[in-house]
């Protein structure tokens, strides 16, 4: 349906153009491109490279945004120590925090008398794999069996839930640690906090931020780190009013010095935190596109300069200057569109799903419909903008001068 609509639109615009003036045949511009295959191919490759880079940066920004957007559950609230909302790994609350919250709160999601309250110890720690002795920074989360209840995106895709001395690794943990995924298969051993942990399983989380973490039993991690406290307690509530219940409880129990942050707000604040990164990424898109526009401009200028007599001859045959300019723009747009398609053909298998490490963990590049629209729009814009100045030049040159040109 979209394709049909697009074709009708193009036909309508073309018909409208025909009413205003007689354009050069569509085939003329296409044949012109094929008359100079070397130059056309090089221009197309240049434009394709530019669009590929645009795809890369947009996929990075989209991956980061979507990773943080899907990480928050609207019915989950994180309880942490006062003022640690933006740096939750520095939060510390007493070990019995989960029990206090379970006993005090109404509207906590419950199934078979099991309350959805997850005590968690969350820390960044050095992780060493079996083959690579150089430790890498990883994110480790000590959890209980209630964690998968609260984190509804969690899926144990391979192996079993960790017993004492065991850990499970996320789908993107290898990217976060910068190691070969073969290092993290079931049965291999990790060294964290001076102890060996056998990998008992692998989990996925629909692209959420904790997909790059290592999970183990919370009491095990407490022993390893010689800590008795928790970092946070994640509470899943049964209805939106429950979020305010948790916030009210934390404010009322001043002595506990706890604070409640809805998980959505927490990840929204991280989005804000990474705002400068996104702005720099968009600046890169602009710079790369600008460079691409100049490359296109250069080529199209070359094409026009080499065809001055031909363009003048077209005018003597009765084609208006606007028709000739339109044909030049058509050539530029066709080159850019082909280059964009080539870039997409290379980028889709190469970039989509590629894991990228960042401070909070790792995420995958997202070459989704939005990224494709950005890339293609940029490609077409480069095609049009790169052709307009040469087209303008063609419009300005007197016919007699053009016919005499060597």
């Amino acid at each position: 349906m979209i394709l049909s609509f697009l074709c009708r639109g193009i036909h309508f615009v073309w018909s409208l153009t025909m009413l205003m003036f007689r354009p050069l045949p569509w085939d003329y511009g296409v044949r012109n491109l094929l008359r100079r295959p070397g130059r056309s191919a090089l221009t197309m490759l240049g434009l394709g490279t530019v669009v590929f880079l645009v795809f890369l940066v947009v996929a990075f920004v989209r991956g980061l945004e979507i990773s943080l957007a899907v990480s928050g559950d609207p019915l989950v609230v994180l309880v942490h120590s006062l003022g640690a909302g933006e740096n939750i790994e520095n939060s510390t609350i007493p070990g019995q925090g989960a029990g206090v919250l379970s006993a005090s709160l109404r509207r906590v999601e419950t199934r078979y008398r099991q309350k959805y309250v997850s005590p968690e110890l969350y820390l960044g720690s050095e992780v060493t794999t079996e083959s690579v002795k150089e430790p890498a920074m990883g994110i480790v989360r000590g959890v209980t069996l209630t964690a998968p209840l609260v984190r509804s995106q969690f899926q144990l895709v391979e192996g079993v839930w960790p017993a004492a001395g065991e850990a499970i690794v996320g789908r993107l943990t290898a990217a976060k640690l910068g190691c070969d995924p073969a290092e993290l298969v079931i049965g291999r051993t990790l060294r964290i906090e001076g102890r060996n942990w056998k990998i008992s399983g692998r989990f996925a989380a629909a692209g959420a931020a904790f997909e790059s973490e290592i999970w183990c039993q919370v009491d095990d991690l407490q022993q390893a780190t010689k800590r008795q406290d928790l970092s946070l307690v994640a509470v899943a509530v049964s209805e939106p009013k429950g979020l305010a219940d948790v916030s009210e409880f934390c404010k009322e129990r001043v002595d506990l010095e706890w604070e409640a942050t809805p998980e959505l707000s927490y990840y929204a604040s991280l989005q804000t935190h990474y705002g400068p990164v996104r702005r720099v990424a968009w600046l890169i898109v602009l710079l790369v596109s600008g460079a691409g526009a100049f490359a296109g401009l250069n080529t199209m200028y070359g094409a026009v300069v080499g065809r001055v007599r031909e363009l003048a001859m077209l005018q003597t045959l009765g084609f208006s200057r606007r028709a000739i300019a339109l044909s030049i723009v058509q050539e530029g747009v066709l080159l850019a569109a082909t280059g964009s398609l080539l870039a997409a053909a290379v980028a889709l298998p190469l970039l989509s799903g590629l894991a990228v490490r960042f401070t909070m963990g790792a995420f995958t590049l997202r070459l989704d419909s939005v990224s494709l629209i950005y890339g293609f729009s940029m490609g077409l814009a480069i095609g049009v903008l790169g052709s307009l100045p040469p087209a303008w030049r063609a419009l300005r040159m007197p016919v007699v001068d053009g016919l005499k040109a060597i």
Partner: protein
């Protein structure tokens, strides 16, 4: 392949890729919304027009008052970066003797008293407006009472103390002092 077929193929492939790829991205809003009917209005039943004469500052009430006793407490809204319970008629107040962070210190949230956090536990109380069943009113205090951070209020209500000494005032009415600035 003719040039017309070639260009047609390019256009079709371009349109198909643009229209057909990717997954929908859900970006749920993290903010709860407040009904427009409530915005900007203050509940007349809860607002006092004259300042009660017997008001005591937060620290004094914290030292002396027992559970279930009627109190009139004086304080300034604050004590945390977000002193409100979003969507509810509840907030925290701080004894007026504590000064919020000065403007010259560049603190974006002076009502969190970050310059005197060590004194907060002995100078902070929770205020909440409750219905007949004892549940906190499901309207944001900022909209219900027209109050804002660092505003001085006098609250009439009943004290609720727990075993750890925390004070919550189950409020029935409030007098909001006009801004001096």
């Amino acid at each position: 392949m003719s040039s017309k077929t070639l260009s047609g193929f390019i256009m079709i492939a371009f349109a198909a890729l643009t229209a057909g790829c990717g997954q929908p991205a859900a970006t749920p809003s993290p903010q709860a919304t407040i009904p427009a009917s409530v915005t900007g209005t203050a509940n007349a039943d809860l607002l006092l027009h004259e300042q009660p004469a017997d008001a005591k500052p937060v620290a004094e009430v914290l030292k002396s008052v027992k559970d279930g006793v009627a109190v009139t407490i004086l304080g300034r809204i604050g004590g945390a970066r977000n002193p409100w319970v979003d969507g509810r008629a509840a907030f925290t107040i701080v004894d007026p003797k504590l000064d919020p962070c000065g403007a010259d210190e560049g603190c974006p949230t002076p009502w969190d008293y970050c310059c005197s956090t060590d004194q907060l536990p002995d100078n902070r109380a929770m205020i909440k407006f409750v219905d007949a069943a004892g549940d906190t009113l499901e309207q944001d205090a900022r909209q219900l009472l027209g109050v804002k951070e660092l505003q001085t209020v006098v609250v009439k209500g009943k004290a609720k103390r727990d075993e750890t000494g925390n004070l919550t005032v189950l409020a029935s009415a409030v007098f909001v002092m006009p801004d001096t600035k």
